[in-house]
Each structure stands twice: as C-alpha cells, then as structure tokens.
Symmetry: C2
Subunit: 289 residues, 2 copies
C-alpha cells in the first residue's frame, strides 16, 4: 500500500492506494496552519503500514535534493505556509521513501500511469482553477530544471476587446492573470459557474487557453494534453479550445493528433478529480523502487 498527499492551498487530500492506482481510503483536511493541518495528516497515515509516501504540493516548492530546503514550500503568498517543511515533517513520523513534486507534476504522472495518457511516454496536465498550474512528462520523466516549471504564467496575446487588466500580482496579464477563475470573476462580475451559458465568456477563455497550449505544443511536443480544474468543468470549453488550437497552428504541426484526432489529443482528466491523489500514489511507487 502507498500513501498519497495532495497538498492544496484550500485542502489537503490524503489517501491510501495500491500499485494499480486504486484509492482505497481517503480523507480531506482543511489547509489552516502547517502545525494543525500536518498533524491531522500524520494522524491519518499512522498505523496504515504504507510502503512509501508521495506528496504533490502547491508551490512554489523546492525540488532540488541537494538543497537544505528540499521538500519545503518556499515563498508562497499563502499565510503561514512559507518555508513549511512538508517532507521533513513526514519523515519525522514515517520511515519510508518519500516522493515529492508539484501538485501538477504529480497529476501529470498519475494521468500517465492510469489516466488519459496511459501507454504514452509524454503528456501535459493543466489545471485551470484559482490559479493555472501545468505539469509535464517528457520521455517518461517529469520535466524539472533550474526550478520547477511555472507554465501557468506564460505570456499570451490579449484579445483586443478584453478590457480587463489582468490579476497576476507579478505579471498582470499573463495567462493566469487573464484566464484563471478569479480573472473570469473580476472581468465579468460573476463566477464562471454562474456564467455557464454566456458564450462570449468561454470564447474569450478558449482564446487564452488555446494560445498557451499552442506554445506548450511547440516547446514540449507532448503526446497528450489533459485539462482539469474547476474552470474546465465547463465542458463546452473543450471544443472551443480545440478549434482555436488547430486554427493557431494552421497546419504547421503535421501530425494526425492535430490534423485529425484533436478530440483525442486535448482531453479531460481520465482520473477525474483524482488525478492529483493518484499522482501521489505514482510518486510513492517511484520512490519505493
């Protein structure tokens, strides 16, 4: 059995799963302070006899095992959580291998193991919700580098009729600043879920998301793109996004995935809302090897 923690800014979801990614038990714990939240996390796993633990966390996080702050959430604007030592705290209580990565990298890994990218060796997982996060796998390996990627903040072209200035504290009108849930609410004065039947909302949203996907395709060439998160629950977004991606690429990428099978190329998570939790199981499984 493996343990998984999906560490989010609102809630921590913890679960126990087997090597097939089946979740046998799970619990949701609100994200308050590290002391309070993590002690409940420890309580959940105690006595569960897990072989290994996988943590997919909100960030930014330190993924470099050579650093003294490896396993920490670093400089988050989330109150109380700057410099929270997730891995260290778990190590204190559980003498098992611990895999650690970003929430979206974990979700990408989960989707590749058991979800919408099963059988492939590359994919990209994007979540569009309170923020925009993206994780990627290339040739079977999670893409890391100097730090972890922060693809949600790439620059996109503004729509000429979009007067909203963008809500990212760092970049103003980067992708996250223009297309995350709070941007939709700030621009239109209502939450996305209340705007479900307003086509202009989703056409503009697709305009931004598609630009980002095109850039990811050109940079990483992933074999599947998986879009999750609260905003993507608006299922009518998918055809709009697909259409824009094909239009923007304009025949440049000569591959059947784009030219003929775009419906199978840009898809919803195969694991539904469990991509992150299953991803933690996949991280644990890798850590146990």
């Amino acid at each position: 059995m493996y343990g998984s923690i999906e560490a989010g800014g609102t809630k921590f979801v913890c679960g126990i799963g087997n090597e097939n990614g089946e979740i046998l038990e799970e619990i949701t714990i609100p994200t308050t302070t590290p002391e309070e939240t993590l002690s409940q996390v420890v309580e959940f796993f105690k006595g569960k006899e897990i072989e290994a633990l996988g943590i997919g966390s909100f960030g930014p996080v330190d993924l470099n095992p050579d650093n003294p702050t490896y396993g920490f959430i670093t400089t988050t604007p989330k109150k109380h959580w700057s410099n929270a030592d997730l891995v260290g705290e778990m190590k204190k209580h559980f003498d098992v291998p611990i895999g650690f990565d970003t929430d979206v990298n974990a979700a990408a890994l989960g989707e590749m193991e058991w979800g919408a990218a099963r059988g492939l060796d590359s994919c990209l997982y994007m979540t569009v919700g309170t923020g925009i996060g993206v994780g990627a796998i290339s040739e079977g390996r999670i893409v890391h580098g100097m730090l972890h990627p922060e693809m949600g903040h790439i620059r996109v072209r503004r729509h000429e009729e979009d007067a909203y200035e963008g809500g990212c504290p760092f970049h103003g009108d980067c992708l996250e600043g223009l297309a995350a849930g709070p941007a939709i609410e700030a621009r239109w004065g209502q939450k996305g879920i209340e705007l479900a039947d307003k086509m202009e909302v989703w056409e503009l949203e697709a305009f931004y998301i598609a630009q980002a996907l095109v850039n990811y395709i050109l940079v990483l060439s992933p074999k599947r793109l998986i879009l999750g998160g609260g905003v993507m629950k608006q299922k009518h977004l998918f055809p709009l996004v697909r259409e824009q991606v094909v239009k923007l690429l304009n025949g440049y990428i000569q591959h059947e995935n784009i030219l003929e099978k775009i419906d199978e190329y840009i898809v919803a998570p195969g694991l539904g809302d469990h991509a992150g939790l299953c991803g933690g199981i996949a991280l644990a499984k890798k850590a146990a090897i």
Copy 2:
C-alpha cells in the same frame, strides 16, 4: 574518431572530431540537391575510419526510430529536400552507429558537453538567423515528444508600434515571423548587419526575443540559455535581451540566475560557430555507446 554532419539549408558542414569535441578536420559543402550534396559528404568521410557518425539536420525531420521515414528530412519547403533520407544514405556507405537529431538539439548537446553549459544537466540553445530554431536539454536528455519541438514559432505579443505584419508562412507574426533575420530586413528595409548602430532595431528585436525566452524559462526552466546565429552576432543585443527578461519575469522566478547572475545565465555559445558541428560529435559519441 567521430564524424559529424551539420546539415543546413545553405551548406553542409562535415567534420572529424575526437571524444573531447576537438574538431580535427572540416569541410563545407553547398546544399544543392540531395544526390550532389550527399555524395560529396560520403566522399569526405570515406577512408576516415570513424567509429560513429552524428547528424544534426535542418528540418522538419523524423526522429521516431519506429517510423519508416526515421532519419528523413520530411516536408521542408527547401527545394529537392522533401523526403531526403539522410540516415539511410549514410548507412549505405558507413557501417557505424549513427546519431540523428535536429540541428539545434545537436547544438544544445554540444554546448552542454563542451561549451557554455558544460557541467549542467539542462540548457536551451536558440539560433536567430534565417529562421529561429531552438533545442533543449532537460535532465541530461534532449527534449523530444510527439514530434520535435518547434519553439521558434511560439506566439509573442506584438509591439504596439511595430507595423510589420510578420513573415511566417504558417503563423504570420509568430516569433520567427517577427524576429528572424528576414523579418528585420523586411521591416527596416536593410539587413541587420547594416543596421548595427540603429538602437530602435535592436530594442524591438530584444523585445521579441525576451518574450520567447521568458516563456521557455517558465515552461522548461533550463539552467542556461545560449543564443547563437547570425542575428546574435550583434553583441549589443545581449544586454538588451537580459534586461527585458528580468523585467518581464518581475521577480517571479526567485533564483539567483535571474536575480543576480543574468549575465552568466543568458550567454553566447561557448563553442562559437562550432556548436552545431561539435553537437554532431556529441551525437556520434552517444550513438557509439
């Protein structure tokens, strides 16, 4: 000894090098027809007793060893060269392992082995010339995917005072369409080299290149960015590009490479004009293992 071919649209540069990336002999052959050019290439290597051969080629190329067209240049607009079987033609004459990749991936590998990214396990190599090509290494491996990346065609925001419509036949005003050598000439009516002292030319150029680099940093998080090609011979472009990159990231990437050491982070090729040829040697060396 290893053989290397830098296959370009204007010329093929062939060389013999040792395991330290030292080029001992080289020759330049004009790119005319595959029959003519490749027979001269074969002639050069004949009797040279190479252990392995590495080819970095202009593209698009087929890099998937499972495909019948592996080792081909595929659908290039370059006359005569669509479906040219580079690897197959070399295999006919030389019974040695052959490494094959894009020209820019080869250059990135060469720069990591012996150039500006030596000792690192990730880097990005961008050439700005007749076109814009980009290759990347992540955790020691060349980034491939569904096809090879085509990062030179990512979308950037237009400068509001730039009236030039862009010259990319697929995307109009993508990065290559706005910032490659021919775009400079079309916009300003003179070649870049004749515009060396016109600051507005290079500020606009930096405006576009920096946007692309910011997106690459956010997507791939490479440990060094290496900029080569004819346009980057304008050395005053480097400080302009660095300044714009720092400004656009606006403190978001909390890493000393950006915050303090940008001069060492965005650099010229350590191998000068030999990045591609040395890259071929590196590909050969890998193929020989």
